[in-house]
Amino acid sequence: MSASTLSPTKQAQTTTSRTKYASGLSPDWLLPAVYFLILLFIAGIWFRYLEFSTKDTPKALGIIGIGILCSGCCSLLGCYLVLRRMSLIGDAISHAVLPGIAIAFYFTGQPYGIGIMLGAMALGMLTSFLTQSLHSLGRVSEDASMGVVFTSLFALGVILIQLWGPRAHLDADCVLYGDIIFTMNRTVPMFGHEVPRALLALVPAAVLTLGFIALLWKELKIVSFDPALAAALGIKVWLVHYLLMGMVAGVTVASFESVGSILVVAMLIVPAAAAGLLTDRLWQMLIWSLVIAAHSAIFGYLSAAALNTSAAGMMAVMAGVQFGGAVLLAPRHGLLSRWLRNLRLSVRIASEDTIGQLYRAEEAAALPAGSQLAAIRPSSAPVGIIGWLSRQSLRRKGLVATNAVGSTELTHQGRNAARNIVRAHRLWESFLEANFDLPSDHLHEPAERMEHFLDPDLQQQLDQQLAGRQIDPHGKAIPQGVAVPTSAERPLPG
């Protein structure tokens, strides 16, 4: 009953909040840009401070560029993995491509190039396929089947590489950790310039990634958020899935030489997870994850140079640091903002309780002495920090004032606000009594909670339902509502 009466308003609220976030140049849109520029500025200063010799500066920039390219590709694809709750298949694939690399190396004789890429993509899809079939045919739970498949394939890959690899600097260590510092030294001639070999794999991978996302934007979006709907619309979910797995494997292997599998996994998952905390829209999530990935690469390189350590490792750490920042500071889903929201709600409830008490006290004083209705519940003034904050907020808004005797009393404005609270309370009590079979001493508690969340619209609806009832179940008058400007500013409960 109550649900049906409440739903229209709820819908209206959701619509307004949605339109608010969809509007063109909202802070949601600007935030990643500002974040990017500020951090870029800091990075620039740090870069200067590290004092690279003039000869090394282009090399350092080149390494950072390659880092950004790797992590950018990974983070874009990672968004879809995280959204589809498949982050760990990214981890599995990045380990399981090893035999593909080894086999392709055996046939092509080159530790880089298109052959390796194709071999890895095939193994990526195979990993996903094997995991699925172990799960459905072997009735092994999904995580266990993933663990079985990727550890076995990885072990096979290490053995194959041991068997065929030593001829060409291809070993498991390099696959795990990469060596981004040396990528600028391994060059191949192209268009009359010496181009880093890693770019031969990374540029196509980046182009492919962007093309893949642009071409399949709609399909990927629907499959990520509602696979059942996608299937109903005739989208081949399995095809999109395997293409994504293939892309992840391809990008993984393109990044291997530079950054190694640990960093690939970090870049697939961490920026996307952080971006997911920062926004609720897909394209903003992609932008956020790109920004975070880029800064992981930049600051990872800088801190590695400062500490004289591995750049790939520090890039992963920097991604983790930014993720930690997002967990704490994200505008809507961060711990800090949630804590503030809860605090604000507590303060509002405490101050509303306070003025409600004052109103009831005034009401009791106005009744003839000895009247049964004059009995009010023992006052429970909010204590501690919340209580202090609520009293400050009441005074600031001019809802209460100290009178000549030195005790607190309601101002005119405060009385109006309090009347609304008490009205909400008594309306809800009456509503409960009218619609539910509750004993009269069970009405106060729920009303004490609900009174803070009944806006004038709902109060009016309740009033209509109760056909203009004047007296609440305890025999007290339901005060008439007064338009109070402050109630409109209330944040949405949530």
Binding site: L88, D143, T151
Partner: protein, 427 residues
């Protein structure tokens, strides 16, 4: 070759890896049951920075402190995963992935830093934690592994009942008022202990395999937790044994991957041949069921046709008209039934019940009509019935209801009776 196997070092490694495999397999099966297989992997990855920090603090290589550091950061990894799932909207897979990648990144950066710092050329030996150094196992290592495996076994034995309920029915455990959260954490800590002890020997990835493979493989052989733990431990032991022997024989290859691959082979064999959920068993069960079901359907249809026409002979064409079977299928069903001696083929492409077949057909038809009657008269009971394809209802409903249904069928004269002479012959 035999001398190679009997060398002192090989025997030490053999013992160490096997005991490690047994311990990891046992605690790992809990992770598999709790659908937390990859948390073990995350712990293995998360242990890395702890090793480096311990080294940095101590300034020298001390295995005990490094293992304690590994344990601490491994448990920290678990706590972070739990906290991310609990307090933020990051989902479990992403939380595991974050720990899985950021921690080893930090560990690797730290270990490089240590390498670049130590000028006297003494490597910290941290690399061995990443890829494992099985051959470097010494006698004290084996004692340590044995001690921690026994410790894990003791904890599992003491808290067997609690772990059992938590592993299978968290909600029930919570309703019993048990500290599910802490039991879970304890379970994960046991996994962390196994992982940390194993890391220097077999490395990160291999450790994950030792945790997952035996438990997942053992699941194909049994449905009881006690046996599962035992079999998983045995598989882990076997994995270690076979893997070490092979890697001693083919010294070209690193030991870790060989051990993992022996585990994979054991897993594959279990998946194919496991007596409880193995592929072969399930295929056979499926075949048996299909055969049994087909036979019942044939008897039912034949009895139906025969009782409708009043003749003992039924032609294949009649059966084809009643059922959406292909002629080939009818032929196959008749052959099966004939070989079980339930029907006999006549020259004229017709079939006839043998006396035993008639008894069986009446039985099957009774069962089928009881089903029909049950589903029309007591549709509300259908939901509680486990297997709608079983022959009769008597396993699922009370005798009183069956009597009621039988009476009702008799009233409608749909209760099949054996002809008296056949009944006497059957007795």
């Amino acid at each position: 070759m035999i001398e190679q196997l009997l060398a002192y070092n090989t025997i030490v490694v053999l013992l160490g890896v096997s005991i490690l495999g047994a311990g990891a397999g046992m605690v790992g099966s809990f992770a598999v049951l709790r659908k937390r297989a990859l948390t073990g992997d995350a712990v293995a990855h998360a242990a890395l920075p702890g090793v480096c920090v311990a080294f940095l603090i101590l300034g020298e290589r001390n295995l005990t402190f490094m293992l304690l550091g590994a344990l601490a950061s491994g448990v920290l990894g678990i706590v972070i995963i739990a906290a991310l799932c609990r307090w933020t909207r990051v989902r479990e897979d992403a939380a595991i992935g974050i720990v899985l990648s950021v921690f080893p990144g930090l560990g690797f950066a730290l270990s490089r830093m240590i390498q670049n710092m130590t000028t006297n050329g003494s490597k910290a030996g941290l690399e061995s934690f990443i890829l494992g150094k099985t051959a470097g196992m010494t006698r004290p290592d084996v004692y340590l592994i044995l001690a921690s495996a026994l410790f894990c076994l003791a904890v599992v034995l003491v808290l067997y009942k609690e772990f059992k309920v938590v592993a299978f029915d968290t909600g029930f455990a919570r309703s019993l008022g048990w500290p599910v959260y802490w039991l879970d954490l304890l379970l994960m800590s046991l996994i962390a202990v196994a992982v940390v002890i194993g890391l220097p020997a077999v490395g990160i990835i291999m450790m994950a395999a030792l945790l997952i493979l035996p438990g997942a493989g053992a699941r194909f052989w049994t449905d009881s937790l006690g046996w599962l733990l035992f079999i998983a431990g045995a598989f882990g032991l076997l994995t270690g044994l076979i893997g070490t022997v092979f890697s001693a024989l083919f010294s070209l290859f690193p030991a870790g991957p060989i051990i993992v691959l022996s585990g994979s082979v054991i897993f594959l064999i279990s998946m194919l041949l496991g007596t409880r959920r193995g592929a072969m068993v399930r295929l056979l069960e499926h075949r048996c069921f299909q055969r049994d079901y087909g036979e019942r359907q044939l008897l039912l249809a034949t009895y139906d046709v025969a009782s409708r026409t009043g003749q003992a002979r039924v032609s294949a064409a009649d059966l084809l008209a009643r059922k959406s079977w292909s002629p080939g299928k009818v032929n196959g069903l008749i052959s099966n039934a004939a070989s079980s001696g339930l029907v006999e083929r006549l020259e004229t492409d017709e079939i006839r019940f043998t006396p035993a077949g008639l008894v069986r057909a009446v039985e099957v038809t009774r069962g089928h009509r009881l089903w029909e009657e049950l589903l029309t008269e007591y549709p509300e009971l259908a939901g509680s019935v486990v297997n709608l394809a079983s022959e009769s209802v008597d396993k699922y409903v009370e005798p009183a209801i069956i009597a009621d249904l039988t009476a009702s069928l008799k009233r409608q004269s749909r209760w099949p009776e054996l002809p008296t002479e056949t009944a006497e012959a059957a007795v």
